[in-house]
């Protein structure tokens, strides 16, 4: 490592595939990742997102295709020479080393002078606010603290790209939201490209610049959180990211978000009803009500209503009218 590592990276993934025996885990994925971007790979387990990440990190050989960093192929560079930071699932901290030794490891194996290592580790400790825990071993830290050590360790050598493999998976829900904010904040400050793998859609929506939805080894749809939520192209995307009703119309299949439907007792609405039906169940969630409505013909529509907007309480078995604006329903390009 003669010259300073580039702190920013453009990744270009071309026709990348991975086969395990006969099983095609990743199938011809094409993806351009801009420098400084926060990109999330989102998908159910078995969708190939972790396999894709492991190929980028260099832990898995590529079956076909190529990966470029700033224009040069990295496919044949071994994992330890790629200089990509990585936060592992379960963190993979070195249990026999202190926090300071963990964070200093990358520079130490690069044979950097001790003074430089110390300065850099201090900088990292500041970044993740762990100044008071330098001499503890990972076993003596809480889950959130371990997560921060893993992040500091991965960033210690100023990698152009940071890979994060379900880094919040081991944390409880409340802590998760807190750490999401910290992660986003650190990303904004250092400008490194983040590639983030998760199966948690809320996490993906709240943090990412762009999301790649993966399914069966392929990219199902790529876009900003807003695009994906408002303009899903397929039934899979619409139902995986948030909830959706699906309506069969003469010209194709439409997705309709439950919170975009207005509900009222039959005949009390301002305009004509788009659909009429019978209330089958009502579930109270505090800020909102979830109403399941049986429509004549056997379909069922879910309606989410803000609690404060209900003037006359609904009851089970009641006849109701459903209305929505034209913009609320989205025609799906694929089934």
């Amino acid at each position: 490592m003669a010259s300073p590592v580039p702190t920013q990276g453009n990744l270009n993934i071309r026709d990348l595939s991975k086969k395990f025996g006969d099983f095609l885990a990743v199938d011809k994925v094409n993806l351009k990742i801009e420098k400084g971007e926060f990109l999330t790979l989102l998908g159910p387990s078995g969708s190939g997102k972790t396999t894709l990440l492991m190929m980028i990190a260099g832990f898995l050989d590529i079956t076909a295709g190529d990966i470029d960093l700033n224009g040069a192929s990295i496919a044949n560079i071994p994992a330890e020479k790629r200089n990509f930071g990585m936060v592992f699932q379960g963190y993979a901290l070195f249990p026999h080393m202190t926090v300071r030794e963990n964070i200093g490891y990358a520079l130490s194996v690069r044979k950097r002078p001790a003074s430089e290592i110390k300065a850099r580790v201090d900088e990292m400790l500041d970044l993740v606010q762990l100044q008071d825990f330098t001499d503890r071993k990972p076993g003596q830290l809480s889950g959130g603290q371990q997560q921060r050590v893993a992040l500091a360790r991965a960033l210690s050598f100023a990698p152009p790209v940071l890979l994060l493999d379900e880094p919040l998976g081991a944390l409880d829900k409340k802590l998760r939201v807190e750490v999401q904010d910290q992660l986003k904040d650190i990303h904004d400050r250092i400008g490194t490209t983040f590639i983030y793998v998760t199966h948690d859609q809320e996490e993906a929506l709240s943090m990412s610049d762009r999301i790649v939805i993966m399914r069966d080894g392929r990219t199902e749809q790529v876009g900003t959180p807003l695009e994906l939520y408002e303009k899903p192209e397929s039934r899979f995307v619409a139902s995986f990211l948030g909830k959706s009703n699906f309506l069969e119309q003469p010209d194709g299949l439409y997705a309709l978000r439950p919170e975009k439907i207005d509900i009222c007792a039959a005949g009390t609405g301002a305009g004509p009803a788009r659909l009429t039906g019978t209330v089958r169940s009502i579930t109270y969630f505090g800020s909102m009500l979830r109403v399941m409505v049986d429509i004549a013909g056997g379909t069922e529509v879910e309606v989410d209503v803000d609690s404060w907007r209900i003037n006359t309480p609904l009851s089970k078995g009641q006849k109701v009218d459903l209305t929505w604006s034209d913009a609320a329903s989205v025609k799906l390009a694929r089934g």
Partner: protein
């Protein structure tokens, strides 16, 4: 991870070492087939005369028989004592039970030469020297800790809620032990019984101290043969022992594979 030069070197080295572990024992096979009267390699000619001698010698046959009797008795006794003890310690599960467990493993860890001295010291005044009960008792004390270990390992995987469920359904603790606990830990009990038998079948140091003329087990007769270092019958006996070991190992591997498959479904 990609396999580097080091990994390949390591793999080759490991296989060479494994061959070093297993193959030397096989030298007994050609030696046992020599047609000569003394220990030697067969020079192109083979003969089964030493096997014939082995199986027609009253001394060797009596040693086989004695070892089998002592081994089976030891195995039965050690399995009962060790299994009860393991279940008891599992039930108690306190800091005292862990101390007792450590204490009960001592016969396995203390050098056999010291165990041999101890049995010899006590067996003389008790009149147990050179008797079946003396041999079986000594071997049981050495072998039961093995059963304790294997059964405890099985119990560690046993869900205590199953016991509670059985009690809740109206079974007494005795019935629960027979119908719920024992069937679940069968693999551990079986492995323990086998290990106990092998220990006794193969034991020489304690045997040298507590047996004399009446009891002359197979290891003891082999020991004599090895010290005298002339009669090829020893080689034939060694081959029989290797064959028995391989058969026992195959049975054990098959049974434990079947158990593993059953527990998976």
């Amino acid at each position: 991870m990609r396999s580097g030069l080091f990994a390949r070197f390591n793999r080759v080295g490991a296989w060479i070492l494994l061959l070093f572990l297993v193959t030397p024992a096989l030298v007994a096979i050609p030696v046992s087939l020599t047609p000569k009267r003394f220990l030697s390699m067969p020079g192109g000619e083979y003969s089964l005369r030493h096997f014939t001698a082995l199986f027609s010698s009253p001394e060797w046959l009596s040693s086989f028989f004695q070892s089998a009797v002592i081994g089976l008795s030891t195995s039965a006794l050690a399995t009962i004592l060790g299994t009860l003890c393991a279940i008891g310690l599992w039930r108690v599960s306190s800091k005292y039970s862990e101390v007792v467990r450590a204490f009960l493993l001592l016969p396995m860890i203390i050098p056999q030469i010291i165990s041999a001295m101890a049995f010899y010291r006590l067996w003389v005044p008790l009149g147990l020297l050179d008797t079946y009960p003396g041999m079986i008792l000594a071997h049981t004390i050495l072998a039961a800790p093995l059963v304790l270990i294997t059964v405890s390992a099985s119990l560690a995987n046993f869900d205590p809620k199953l016991e509670q469920a059985s009690r809740n359904l109206g079974a007494s603790s005795w019935v629960t032990m027979w119908r719920v606990i024992l069937p679940s830990i069968k693999p551990g009990v079986f492995a323990g019984a086998l290990f106990a038998f092998i220990l006794s079948w193969d034991e020489i140091v304690v045997t040298l101290f507590v047996s004399k003329f009446n009891i002359y087990t197979l290891p003891r007769r082999m020991w004599n043969g090895i010290r005298e270092n002339t009669d090829p019958t020893v080689a034939a006996a060694a081959v029989v022992l290797i064959a028995l070991t391989l058969i026992a190992f195959a049975v054990f591997a098959l049974v434990s594979r079947r158990n593993a498959r059953q527990s998976r479904t």
